[in-house]
Symmetry: C2
Subunit: 278 residues, 2 copies
């Protein structure tokens, strides 16, 4: 399927480009953005960091607000930011900001009406990387990162498909969605009421059984309004107790849940991934 370029701008001596395309995974149109660093070309393919955004976001939030480009350009890392769900009039939706369009939770839905389009896991793990490899000068090296719902996505996808990614990082991830209101609402809708089906999408559950060697960096603001009720980083720290690979969760004093927080530490995350993407 061809990519349709919908916007482009030179930035940090590289390029930011937005595309839409027909997705076989989600059975409809998807949008993504890519940052290509200045050194990316056919003779010099670059590694890719996949960035998964949070609730209500599109492909644009990270690219406009994260202040990531100068460091990504310096390190020679491409960044791909997909939309957070399928969209459109024929795509199931909900009145809440935390379910439906803008809130795909990076799962493959099994329940009607969601299962017709909400196959975000397949899109992120399989279809999108194939599309990126076929259309841009990128290498096989991939890492994954995200924020909030996207932090949940980065952790669960990175752990479950550890052979596909070199490293994982997250800002303010939903660390134990089986036991928080956002996660329970989404999993009930997308996966049904059988909680045995939820475990494969819970970062704390997956991490406690993780055998892979996969470096993980997490930043969490201690003034985040969602910290205690929705994010539950302590559960993730406990689940990481037996890991053999590097795991660091940094509580950042004074910071909240916003892109002001992300923009403060994104350079650290890019340098973290850069160690493993060479």
């Amino acid at each position: 399927m061809p990519l349709e370029l919908i916007q482009q701008a030179k930035v940090a001596n590289g390029w930011h480009k937005r595309y839409k395309h027909q997705s076989s995974s989600v059975n409809g149109e998807m949008t993504f953005a890519i940052f290509l660093p200045p050194n990316a070309n056919q003779e010099h393919p670059v590694p890719v960091l996949y960035w998964l955004s949070g609730l209500t976001c599109t492909d644009e939030n990270f690219m406009q607000k994260a202040a990531a480009f100068s460091t990504a350009a310096e390190l020679g890392i491409a960044i791909v930011a997909p939309d957070t769900s399928p969209r459109g009039e024929d795509v199931a939706n909900d009145d809440g900001y935390d379910l439906g369009q803008g809130a795909g939770f990076y799962v493959n839905a099994t329940q009607a009406p969601w299962n017709k389009h909400y196959q975000m896991l397949d899109y992120i793990v399989q279809e999108l990387p194939e599309l990126i490899a076929a259309n841009f000068p990128v290498s096989q090296a991939k890492s994954i990162a995200g924020h909030s719902m996207g932090g949940h996505g980065a952790l669960t996808i990175g752990i479950k498909h550890a052979d596909g990614y070199r490293s994982i990082s997250a800002f303010s991830p939903i660390a134990n969605p089986m036991h928080c209101p956002w996660g329970q609402k989404a999993f009930n809708a997308y996966l049904g009421s059988d909680k045995s089906q939820w475990r494969q999408y819970d970062a704390s559950e997956l991490l406690s059984q993780c055998q892979a060697t996969l470096p993980i960096l997490i930043d969490q603001g201690d003034q985040d309004d969602f910290l205690a009720e929705q994010l539950k980083p302590d559960t993730l720290i406990a689940a990481a107790a037996n890991l053999t690979s590097p795991f660091e969760l940094r509580m950042q004093p004074g910071y909240d849940h916003s892109y002001f927080f992300i923009s403060t530490f994104i350079a650290d995350h890019l340098r973290f991934h850069g160690q493993y993407l060479v």
Copy 2:
């Protein structure tokens, strides 16, 4: 008049805060944002860079998209970003994006109905700096910068009030508004048809007669869609021919009019101002 805090977030180890307040200059409510670097306190007041935004912008665009905070924190420079006009149901407006609310052009309007509220020159030059000095740990040292309509504002205000500012910079300024559609529409409405009243707000006119010693840095993308019709940097270069102080206008190949362009070069601008704000 008291300031009302409407939002705050820690960023780059400093603070981003938004305030609204009753403005005597514009005879109504105004909103501004401030970035305070981590070293700002009563024992260590910091210099201020005033940032004037372009058409359609509010106080938020620069703060969310410019990627300025890490460098401003490092240099110890506060940044103040006012809204681009008065706003509200009782404030005159226009159906176009280039006149009325969001398009104050940093002038003191003399024509009805605009003159009731559109006194943005007084607000930027007088009221806002007094408010900042009274409420935040800042020194007397000020510089001014802006984008597009705000580049026009930074140049005209900086040149006309050269004793108030240490340095000026601009991205993609409207350099000769008397002779471009955006400027002519705004000046006709705000200042009337007598073009002798327009000269005091035209950067090229002012610069050609400038006796002050005032360093100026300008960046302009050569793929800017507004370059030939609206921005006219060549007129400004010609007007700068007899300046005795540093003047540099850099044509940046491949860049457009967006915040992707601004975010690429904002660190250069902050370091430029930093030389004069010590």
